[in-house]
Point group: C2
């Protein structure tokens, strides 16, 4: 996607400098800065402190983190240590575990110094696939958006999104925003309602910035507003990402997603979730009971950062003395989800439909292996 008019990705490996480069997303929308990650600690810090965030990008970053650790010390002990450190950074996104397990499976049959190079190749492959997945999600979502738009072709298509599931949450394209980018380039008149997404404001800071950089019409709203807009016919569909989806179609995503899904159901507004299939946790069925919900520091609620009139990024206190809690995600039950947009097409949020996707994935894996 574009940054100041030039194409960009969120993460890339530079072999000449033997480092991974990322956008420090904690400084957006106020400052655009690139930083490099080389040591395992850099990768863990970047994931834990949300310099990179979003399920797909967390997975890619973790893969590179493990690969760089193996390039430095290819021993199985170091592999186990690095995997453990990376897994401990964020508990909810399933892509973290998925990416680490994938790199470990690839290096398992290899010995010695080549393990680092092989791991790095696998990380590169995960990165490339992420871009292709995002584009495929965009293409499948475009068909859906075109269909909904043509129900009311006299007015722009109003899409509400929560948090950031754009290209900043992946390597490029993103998940929930990928169909919107495709639709915009296909000439569909789109307008995006951007939930600010407290407490970390990824909507106001990242989604709004992304859309503004691509020139896509959008409006920032506080998280409380979506229900009112849906009551008044101002939302044609909701489109969000997912940090983990169960085999039955329950969707774990940024805290507050469930409230928007309830409002969508109450107002007959379609509620779609866009996700790469790597975000599906095939081992669990009941999202509310089985997905661990990350609790982050209460300071993210009681304090806020932004830019003052002198251009200095500052932190302010919002709450005096009172305690606060900070759950990062919630679970939207499958019954509230109209469909799951994946790189393999749109699936119903039902066990049967997702079982069909799982078979498709297994068949594709088998084909790849036998080729």
């Amino acid at each position: 996607m574009q940054v100041n008019g030039f194409p960009h990705t969120t993460l890339w490996y530079d072999p000449t400098q033997q480092g991974v480069f990322i956008i420090d997303q904690t400084l957006l929308p106020h400052r655009f800065e690139i930083i490099s990650l080389t040591r395992l600690e850099d990768f863990c810090h970047a994931i834990r402190n949300m310099q990179v965030r979003g399920a797909p990008l967390i997975g890619v970053t973790a893969a590179y983190g493990l690969a760089m650790a193996l390039a430095h010390d290819p021993s199985p002990i170091n592999e186990a240590y690095a995997a453990e450190q990376l897994l401990a950074t964020r508990p909810t996104a399933v892509n973290l575990r998925w990416a680490i397990e994938r790199v470990r499976a690839t290096v398992a049959q290899h010995d010695g110094a080549q393990r680092g190079a092989i791991a790095l190749q696998e990380a590169e492959k995960i990165r490339r696939e992420d871009i292709l997945n995002g584009e495929a999600i965009g293409q499948h979502g475009l068909t859906l958006l075109q269909r909904i738009y043509h129900q009311h072709p006299d007015r722009p298509l109003n899409i509400l999104t929560h948090c950031n599931a754009g290209w900043l949450a992946a390597v490029d394209w993103g998940t929930a925003l990928a169909p919107i980018y495709k639709a915009y380039h296909a000439g569909l008149p789109v307008h995006v309602w951007v939930d600010e997404t407290r407490p970390r404001n990824q909507g106001a800071s990242l989604t709004a910035w992304e859309l503004q950089q691509q020139g896509i019409p959008h409006t920032v709203i506080v998280d409380n507003t979506g229900g009112h807009l849906m009551q008044h016919g101002q939302v044609d569909l909701c489109l969000v990402g997912s940090d983990r989806t169960t085999a039955s179609g329950d969707v774990c995503n940024k805290i507050g997603t469930y409230l928007k899904a309830l409002a969508a159901a109450d107002n007959q507004v379609p509620f779609y979730v866009a996700l790469p299939s790597s975000t599906i946790d095939w081992s669990i069925d009941n999202g509310i009971d089985e997905i661990p919900i990350e609790q982050r520091h209460s300071k993210e609620v009681t304090h806020i950062s932004g830019m003052d009139q002198d251009g200095v990024i500052r932190e302010l206190r919002l709450v005096e003395q009172s305690p606060a809690v900070n759950y990062a995600f919630d679970v939207t039950p499958a019954r509230l989800v109209s469909g799951l947009i994946t790189e393999h097409g749109v699936f119903s949020a039902t066990p049967a439909s997702l079982a069909a996707l799982q078979q498709k994935l297994a068949a594709a894996l088998h084909t790849n292996k036998t080729v």
Copy 2:
């Protein structure tokens, strides 16, 4: 209620200084400052800029504003001008109109200089009634809270509230928080989940401060969190205020209330609304179609104020370039409301039940007039 251990109200008239004194609520929770209002412009400014806010307190403030204007110039022309200026400050809260009409009806049969004194007496009466109404709401709500608490007497009663409908929204006691104050003093173990309530953060700034000053256990959460808590059995009831309620029981309250009511219904959590009967607009039935929703300045969304580490209250920019909209209220349909706690008891949110309340009010008015 208590401020730093001393009893306080939000607004009082001081005859020796011929002025009305209020707490400047825009400075809370960081600073506690009293300011005086004397000219009509002071009252309009205080309401418009939310130095006073909350439907009951807006009504009382408007009554005093009109009375002070009449004390200065008792002419009908000035009366009409002052009423018009005050009515234009906030479009949604019905108490504003109710209080102004009440003062105007009282002075209608009087001439000359005594009109100011009579208006002031009526404003004093509205103020006293507001305190009594809050206490009565508290008492009726207490019975309800005791009943819900005794369903699970092994753990504290968890109440979720949105925005501020505490004593700061009235003269004393408040509406939604009045039953909580009564319950706390009756020895019921209560704990309050405080929605921060973006964009103006009245929950984090006012409700949390109120509860902290009275020593009542509470936890601040972002507005996105309530659904997750309800899914996990951590909320025993929701209790909110109302800026305007229709004759059919639709409740207009701070933006985001509707989303909490949806989550309450989805998780079988009782959802109660506390309000003085003056908040009911008997002239309308359909809240979604008929209640005008105030749109406030987008800067309340794109910028935020708080206290920096040097104790200076500052404003920060959260959003770069992107536009924002700021709807201040939404409407919760009566079907999602478990009951309305008024100064005359708890009523169902149905036309029939509210018609009974209306008859009760008419009978009380008749009794007062014939006495």
